[in-house]
Every structure is written in C-alpha cells, then in structure tokens.
Symmetry: C3
Subunit: 370 residues, 3 copies
Amino acid sequence: MPAPTYRLSELAGKLGLKLVLREGAEDIEITGVSSLAEAGPSDLGFLANPKYASQLATTKAGAVIVKEEHAGEVERALVTPDPYPMFAQAIGLFAKPQGSFSGISHLACVDPSAGLGEGCTVYPFAYVGPGVVMGRGCTVFPGCYVGEDCELGDGCTLYPRAVLMAGTKLGEGCVLQPGAVIGAEGFGFARTPAGIKKVPQIGHVEIGGHVEIGANACVDRAALSATVISSGTCLDNLVQVGHNVRIGKDCLIVSQVGISGSTHVGDNVTMAGQAGISGHLQIGSGSTIGPQAGVAKDIPEGAVVGGSPTVDYNTYLRNATLMPKLPELFKRVSRIEQELGHKPMAESKPDRSLAAMWSRWLSMMHPGGK
Amino acid sequence: MPAPTYRLSELAGKLGLKLVLREGAEDIEITGVSSLAEAGPSDLGFLANPKYASQLATTKAGAVIVKEEHAGEVERALVTPDPYPMFAQAIGLFAKPQGSFSGISHLACVDPSAGLGEGCTVYPFAYVGPGVVMGRGCTVFPGCYVGEDCELGDGCTLYPRAVLMAGTKLGEGCVLQPGAVIGAEGFGFARTPAGIKKVPQIGHVEIGGHVEIGANACVDRAALSATVISSGTCLDNLVQVGHNVRIGKDCLIVSQVGISGSTHVGDNVTMAGQAGISGHLQIGSGSTIGPQAGVAKDIPEGAVVGGSPTVDYNTYLRNATLMPKLPELFKRVSRIEQELGHKPMAESKPDRSLAAMWSRWLSMMHPGGK
Amino acid sequence: MPAPTYRLSELAGKLGLKLVLREGAEDIEITGVSSLAEAGPSDLGFLANPKYASQLATTKAGAVIVKEEHAGEVERALVTPDPYPMFAQAIGLFAKPQGSFSGISHLACVDPSAGLGEGCTVYPFAYVGPGVVMGRGCTVFPGCYVGEDCELGDGCTLYPRAVLMAGTKLGEGCVLQPGAVIGAEGFGFARTPAGIKKVPQIGHVEIGGHVEIGANACVDRAALSATVISSGTCLDNLVQVGHNVRIGKDCLIVSQVGISGSTHVGDNVTMAGQAGISGHLQIGSGSTIGPQAGVAKDIPEGAVVGGSPTVDYNTYLRNATLMPKLPELFKRVSRIEQELGHKPMAESKPDRSLAAMWSRWLSMMHPGGK
C-alpha cells in the first residue's frame, strides 16, 4: 500500500490552517512529515520551540507549520497559534496504520456467543471468549486474549498480546499497546498465623473512552467492585495500577509509575517516570508528581511535588542544590563546636558496606578498570 | 453459569463461624459479598478496621462478619476473632473462576511426550513442549508457553501468555498471572577488552507450592543451578528476580520490586513497592523493606528499613521530617558563622540544570501553564 | 537429545587454553560445568575471584580454569589470564539451546511475501507479517509477532511472545527474551485546552548486531525517524527505552532502568538497576550510572554518578554516611544557638502522615505485630 501524499493546499484545508506562500512560490505535493533539521523538499516541518527558530533559515522543508510571526521566514507556511498539536494532526494524515490484515481470521478463536460489531478485525491466534461484546471497527492483533463478558466500545485497538481478563469494559477508541494486561488479580494477601492467605479479587476494570495503555503495563481488577480509568487518560509502558484505584480524566502517567491499591487520582494529573504512589491516598486534580517521587500522603489540587518522600517543588529544587554541600556543612558545624569548646561530632567516614558494594559492582562491570 | 448463592446458615457452616441472629431475624439467601458501604440486603459484608465501626449502624448488608464485641450491632452476624481472612474465604465461595473452557483444545499444541494429569485444561494457542509433566487439574490459558521438561504440580494455573522456559519446576497450586515470565536468561554479561561477553545461563527455576507470580513479572533462571522461590511466597506485578536468587517461604514482594542476582532472602520477608535490592546480599527472615528502598547491604532478621540507601525505620521517619528544613539549617549555620566572624558558606542557589529540566518538562505537560 | 560431553584435552583445544596436569593425573571426560563448591569429579570449575581461592583445596571438580599462579593447586588446570570469560565460553559448550522444534510449523502464520533465510525455525502460533525479511538461521518461538516489513539479520532468536512492530530492524545475532516489545508507540501526548492530543509515532526502531533485549523490556519507536540501539548493547528485563533515544555500542542497561525520550547515550555506558534518565540528555561514553539514580542533566564521559538527583560517586558515598547523622546535626546546631542566645529552631517531630502510612501498611502486612 503506497504511503499517502497530499497537495499542500489540500493539507491546509484538512488541517484548517491558512496557507501563506511567499511571492513566486507554488503549491506542491507533500510526501511526508519531518523535523526541520531532517526535512527534504517535499516534507512538511514545524516550529513550536523558539529555541529552534534559526532552523527556519536553513531547513529544506517544502512547507512549515509556524506561528503568524514566522510566516514570512519560509517559502510556504501553514499558520496557526499552536504549531505542535497541528503538526501532530498532520502526522496522523501520513501515518500508515500498523497491521496488514482485515476481517475475522479463520485462525482466530472467537466464541460463537461473542458479538462483534461491523468492520471488526480479529487476527490469527487471537482469542475472544463467550459473551464478549465488541463495538464497530475494533482491531484485535495476534496473541490477544479477550476474556468472557468483556465489552469494547467502537474503534478499540488491541495490539499483539494485549490481555483483557473477564468482564473488562473499554470505552470507545481505546488503544492497548503490546503486552498490556487489564484485569489481572490484584495483590490481595494477608498474613495470618497460619501463613499467607489469598483474598480472591472478584471485581473488574472499567476504562473510559480514548484511553491508551502502554506496552506491558498492568491494571489490576478490583477486589469487589471496579478499578476505574476515566476518559482521555494515558498510561505509558510498564506502569502498574493496583486494585480499586480510580483515575480521573486526561491524566498522563509516564513509564514505570506505580499506583498502589485504593488510591484515587483526580483529573488532569501528571505523574513523571518511575514515581510511586502509596495506597489509600487522594491525589488532587491538576497536580504534578515529579520523576521518581515517593508519594506517601494526600496531594492537594494543583500541587507540584518531587522527591521521596515528596516535598513541594521549590523545596525539592533547593535541597538538590544543598545535598552536595552536606559534607561541608558537617565540617563547618564541627569547626564552630571546636571554637566554642564543644566536644566535636565524630569524624564522618564513607559507609564501608556501600563502598564495598559499589566496588564489587564496578569491577564486575569494568574488569581491570575503576 | 449462574453465580453461586448460599443460605446464611450454610455459609456459617462452610466458614466454621458462629451465626448470631438478632431477635426476630431470620436465615436469608446471600447472593454476594461487598463492602459495608456498598452492600445490599442480600450481601455479606465485614468489619475488620475499627475505623469503620460506625458503618455497622448504616449498612444495608444482610449479614456482617464481625468480632464478638460487635455481634449485637447488626441483624445477622457471623462471629470470628479475625474478620478479614474470614471475609477473604467468603469471597472465594462467591468467586466465579476466570475462563470458559475445559479440556484439551484441538487448537492447542501439546507435544505427544508431555504427560498431563487428570482434569487438566489447555486452551487454544497454548504450547506445551516435550517431556513436560503436569499434575492433576492444571489450567493453561491461551498464549502460554510451557517449555520442554517443565514440571507442574497439581492445580497450577497459568493465565494468558505466561511463559515457562525449559526445565522450570512449579509446586502445587501455583498461579502465574498474565505475562509472567519464568526462566528467561539472566543478565550474565562481562566486559572484556574484546567487548561484552555473554555468559550463557544454563540453570533453571524452582518454585514451591502455592506461589503466586504477578502479571508481567520476571524470574530469571540460574547461571548453573537454580533460582529458587519457596512455598507460599507471592510476587506482585512487574517484579524482577535475578539469576541465582533464593527467596524463602511466605514472602510478600510488592509491585515493581527488583532483586539482583545471587541475593538470598529469608522467610516472611515483606518488600514494599519499587524497592531495589543489590546482588549477593542476605535479607534476614521477617524483615521489612520499605517502598522505594535501596538495599545495598545485608539486612538483619526482623529489621524494618527504608530509604535509599536504607536506614532503620525510625531514622528514615525522622529524616523525612528534617529534609524540608535543610535550607533553613544552612541559613542558621551561616548566621552563626557571621556572628563568630567566620567566612560564611557560599549562598545556595537552586540547581539550574535541574530547574531547567523541570521547567521544560512542566511546559511540555502543561502548555500555557506553569 | 543427550547433553554434550568432551575430553578435557579437547576442551582445552576448543578454548585455546594450556592444559596443566599434575604428575600422574590423566585426561578425563568432562560432562558439565559448575561452581567450585558444587562441582563433581567430571565437572569443570573456575576461579576468578581471589576471595574463593581456598576452595581450590577442597573442590571435587575434575578440572579448573585458573590463572597461572594457581595452576599447581589443582590436579588438572586450564590456564588463562582471565578465567571468568573463559568459563563463560566453556558454559556455552555445554549449554543445550532452549526449544525443541525446527522448521516452519504449519501451525504458524507466515505471510507468503515474507522472505525467510535458510535454516530458519518458526514455531506454532508465531505470526510473521508481509514483507518481512529474515536472515539465515533465525528462530521465532510461539506467540511472537513480527510485523510487516521487519528486517532480521542472520541468527536472531525471538523467545516466546516477543513483539516486533512494523519496520523494526534487527542486526545479526540479536536475542529477544520472552515478552520483549520493540516498536510500540512512544508516549507522544500533548495537553491542549481541548484536552490531551495524541501525537502519532510513525518512526521505527533500529537495533544493531548482537544486541540482547530482556524479558518484558520495551523499546518504543521514534516519532518520525528511528530509535536506535547499537551493536553489542544489552538491556535487562523490564527496561524502558523511550521514543527517539539513541544508545551506543556495548552498553549494559540493568533491570528496570527507564530512559526517557530523545536522550542520547554513548558507548560502553553502564546503568545499574532501576536508574531513571530524563529526556533530551547526553550521557557520555564510558560513564556509570548507579542503582536507583535519577539523572536530570548531561553526564560527562567516564563519570561515575549516583543518587537522585545524581551527584558524583564520592559525594554520594559520603552523603550515605552523613544522612543517618542528620538528626544529631540539627540537635548540635540547636545547642550552639542556645549557647549564643539565639531563638532555637523548632523541635523536629516525625512526619505524622508518613508514620501513619507506614503504620497502616505494616499492620496490613503483619497483623498482630510489627
């Protein structure tokens, strides 16, 4: 299937943007999208970050999406107040969808009681269980498992090996990246004198519309009711969402974040990579959790926090500057104490066990070296 | 398949609990289990945490599992000294198992030399290799891979896409959540002047009885002998266990923990989410490792530690209070130095690169905002 | 298939090592490899770490790979300046490859337009899409997905359920452990007033020769061009590599590391477990990033860093010693202030919310006691 191409004027129409041609410049065929630095004469580029404005003078791009103020700097401009999302939309026009098959493969296993809407595609080796209800235009790639009684809205895409355990509900337009697991049994265990007792998890997962779940990410089903992810929210790869968590709308949860059970997250929350959120907490709408943060208490709406345990953003930045000066601070206090005639604090030596661990590890990784 | 229901008196019998009915209350049909807040008149609830005792007065639950002291506060009580594990057992009576198929599917690929015990179920698209020995009543969901010479005890469940590489041994009653990988090749590499040399890992994994492995969790095989997980231990989602690790009985390893190669973990150890344990360490029985902890030295039996690198629990809590006051401490010391006529420490400014990184990231995540 | 065995003299030849026999000792059949502690009389062991030199006197190993200085301490020695990588090579001679099938299974789904080189093996339930080009001797295990137009060099191994999305390129001799996902859609999202806008990711992934990708690890495709992993680099389990990242040659990226989008990593970089690297950074060749490190700025070539945010290795070790003494430092400063007649800093009490969270969690994990 050849890649799509468009007349620039046609693109302008599709994107709803004003086309500004320099004197003598003509409409051209656009064959792809690119960064300004890598673009060729039939590519469409964009300028969003003023840091790269100088690239407008040197780019070979046939046309560029820019703000009004830069329209005169290029031969062919598509003008908008917000170039980045417009460029995103343009990319979509040139994107070839993944996959190479349509229809219901005879190599798939689809239960006779499953109801698939018009235009669904189910690849070889996909398994669709009894009572499943799938909307129109869903795509299920090889190796997927759609458990009994799952419900999928229109236009959902399950990339290879995505798993939906029984009773999972997806809204319309959801995308599950390869290996995503929805509805596995949450970590319900209790220690008793007789040993570890498992608490069966008999709830399910409910996901709103236009939610994206990253590769190998996991969303556990609830103990009794529902683990909920609301519309528009996106989870990155390897994210973990525990049982009974509720996440609001339009949240961005970056790679390798872990949210423990029963925590409630508001709308428009952003969590940076590898952050960890304890259980039974309230994370307020519009808040921002920093990378590798360790959240152990409720976070107010609109707060920006970082560190483990978390502190407010400004304290976090300030402490980042101060930590390298900690050894010096100890010396200064010792000096003051000496001057005042106090018994000084014991001299600080490096933690031997930690140094030994680093030593052993570094020599394993760099034999003969440090 | 309709959901199971029970007369309350029958439930009391099955759970071995005393049934206490208020004057005039009758035996009823119980159709499900629920939290006190969400229960309806034919649901069974429970009270374990005294914090929620007030809900006994308002709950609509038809019956409640409670301690003796609360038996008079509800219409129908099932009395026990330990309500939570009893409730767990009750949930099990109402749980519908996942899955919708039984028998050996003709769409599975089962090697003729594999020996499956009575009552096993193997779903479509599951692969069972040569020499595999499976006990009675095992269930292998779609997409699973059971490599040559694996041995499974009675009653094991492999949820969709679980992988057992060659020679893996599972005890009875093990459960692998979707995407779990047992027996992949450990990270055995050494740097040499000629480049990175791979060390083939030719050992295997041995797992005891009633072990649960979470979704997309990974347990690597040993270099030469066995990586061992003992009976009763449970691993949560996305956990990593490196080659040659030995984990004792009844450990709870929470989501996204990483345990590096050759570390030995005792019995009854609890590791909270995202903790990291270095290699070649001894983690004593009964110890507790806090969330996001970084363990770089042996941990004594019964210890409770937190932080990275770890410190004892009390120091960890105390430092959590002190860290936000660090900027103030630097100022106080400067003031003292001034008073004593010392040259003061340089004024601390926020780390510019870190602030720049946060700034760029925040504007990406919140264009137009902070 | 019986395990391979070799005469010791034959092994010496294959490994290119000098065989030194004690007076009266003979050539023997070697049937396996083992650690010195666990070896039997027909096993080959090795001594690399001087810490274990005393085991030479007690080992039952039939032969041992040692440095020249120890050749006289054992009955049969294979002599080399660098025993560990030599032992690694020996292990390879005794390793039985995983798997039990060869050829193209009729239960696989291989597109007629895919070109497979001589000697390829494709297992049942593997999917190979249109336009795929596979070199000689590649092996594709059950459940793998090789998307349209992927290119694999000679001798690649895709273990069960590995996923290559469209257009992925692998060099020769690559190994993907079970569940690895290459080419999923990167986390391209932007917040706009109208909500979250997805930025389609239409690039691909290019991987060099002899690269290993760990179990359930994820490497996202680029927004427009290529995410690159260069030859010899090895990624451990559950690692995340974001879109548009470029990694140089011979890097070792340990388990659960996360590298954010558009960061460039040089050659010979080592990243320890659970480290996190922010986006748009330059990580210099030969640098070492410590366990759980949080990298938020460029790292110079050859640097060794640790902590979050990172500091140089020596500062990291020193601070690890000082942090447990922080409470005492605050008390000392208060005492000085009192002596000078200052208003003292407020008394520090443990952070109540953090203590409450620990308390609740510990009692869940250990009912009845701490």
